[in-house]
């Protein structure tokens, strides 16, 4: 009898799709704002700002939902790294850079307690627990500029927030590119799993 475990429940797949779409929208409109120019690219600057601000608020809701749902389910435990994470990440990185071209098998297999390889674990954890909170906090401060900017000191605060926001957004962009690339080389079946199906750990997908 196959031992099926619902590691990608419906709520997680729905959240993942929503979060991914929001991140893509935010990165695109954010770039339009950062590199604003008199040459109109598809949409105007005020429209880009409106979409960026609305998507930012939705991202905050989506993030809170993710944290709460993870707290109420076992899913959250898959993200938290252990002290061995950097050593294990190096092994996984070696596999991507060298091992996979030599026909080596994957160094870390999925099981009951492991849903992600160490690199995924490190990337997902730092994205969801460090980068996204930094982005939404700095974004929220800048969104409320009218109420918060009162003196010269707040200009420096705003400038620092902008700096952190841009750096964090850059990291999210890098994450998105690598995430999509690795999903792409894993094959179309991997994409189908995260969108449509739950995943079993005994190989009987």
């Amino acid at each position: 009898m196959a031992n099926l475990i619902n590691s990608y429940p419906f709520w997680l797949r729905l959240w993942h799709s929503v979060n991914g779409i929001l991140c893509l929208i935010l990165v695109t409109t954010g770039l339009m704002m950062q590199y604003a120019s008199p040459v109109k690219i598809v949409i105007s600057l005020p429209t880009a700002i409106l979409i960026h601000n609305s998507s930012g608020i939705l991202l905050i809701i989506s993030w809170i939902f993710f944290i709460v749902a993870n707290g109420l389910s076992k899913n959250g435990s898959y993200y938290w790294p252990t002290l061995k994470i950097f050593k294990e990440s190096f092994i996984q990185l070696r596999y991507y850079a060298y091992g996979m071209f030599k026909g080596e098998s994957k160094p870390f297999k999925d099981d009951r307690n492991r849903k992600f390889n160490p690199l995924q674990q490190l990337a997902y954890w730092s994205t969801m627990y460090i980068i996204i909170p930094l982005l939404v906090m700095t974004g929220f401060i800048m969104y409320n500029i009218e109420r918060l900017l009162v003196d010269k000191k707040s200009i420096i605060i705003y400038q620092v927030c902008d700096f952190i926001h841009i750096c964090a957004a850059f990291m999210i962009s890098v994450f998105l590119v690598i995430h999509l690339y690795l999903a792409f080389i894993e094959g179309i079946s991997n994409l189908k799993k995260i969108i449509f199906k739950t995943k079993s750990y005994d190989g009987n997908d």
Binding site: M33, Y35, P38, F101, K152, F170
Partner: protein, 318 residues
Amino acid sequence: MARIGLLLIFLIVSILSVSGQRGLNNPPIPENNNCLRCHGQAVYSAFSSDGKKHMKQPMSESCVIPRKMYQNAIHGSLKCVDCHAEGYSNTPHPVDLKFKPLYTCADCHDVQKKFKKYHLDSINSEDERSVHAKAMPNTFTCWKCHNPHTNVTAFSEQADLKSVITTSNSTCLNCHNDVNIYNRVSNKIPVNVLKSHEWLIHTELHLKNIRCVDCHAKLTSPTFTPHEILPARKAIRECTACHSQKSILSNSLLRTKKGNESFFNFSNNRALEYAFIMGANRSITLNIISIILFITLLLVIFTHLFFLLRYRKLHKNG
């Protein structure tokens, strides 16, 4: 409710902007005391020809020159009779002196070499093309905007920008935010400034942190403050005109003699003294670093993909 709140804030800002103008604090001129005894306040004493009777009279509003405002004004170091006809030396002066021509601004400003750097010839031709001059042909003078008794300069490429903005905008708002003054020169009803700018995101921030002339005047002037005021329909409405690296403000409000030195090399950094302008203030260093890193990432990915596809092809062919 929110609109009333915004209106109140804007009115307070307008009042503060007028009262908070930078002043020169010139020392009082003793020769002006006789004049200011009457003109320095809203009420004066009128005497009969034999000097035996006198009565309190309200001074015409346009003739009241508050002492403190005069001392702070750009002309506050001048004697009244430097500009007014000599007949005013004896006080109280005869009423018919009002009909004698006064010196005009150009009498000093066009002649003296020290004013050349202010490009007054350019200001004059810009004024002639402005919507104000067209609406008030032959009667539009410098005085309409710049009261010589109370005017403080908004001109300086090194001054505190916030102060420059409030001083400059109070010149416009004196008329455009006061129906009584506006109707001295126009029969139209002035538009509600706050309402007509509601299309701007963060309306209040824009009105407080940018000069009216930066959007409402032709920015081809060699001067710090452009004077060719355009009709409202021709004002800049394109956000990216300011919110971009090549912001039009870099040639007007943000023109500076300082080098571009700031935290992580932010463009148009002079604005950072008082505001952060999205799109215009961007870290050039950060932009360059991020572009280089992103191109490197794409190169790594394409190289990886190339070798992976090659490996899979070889593996497939056995």
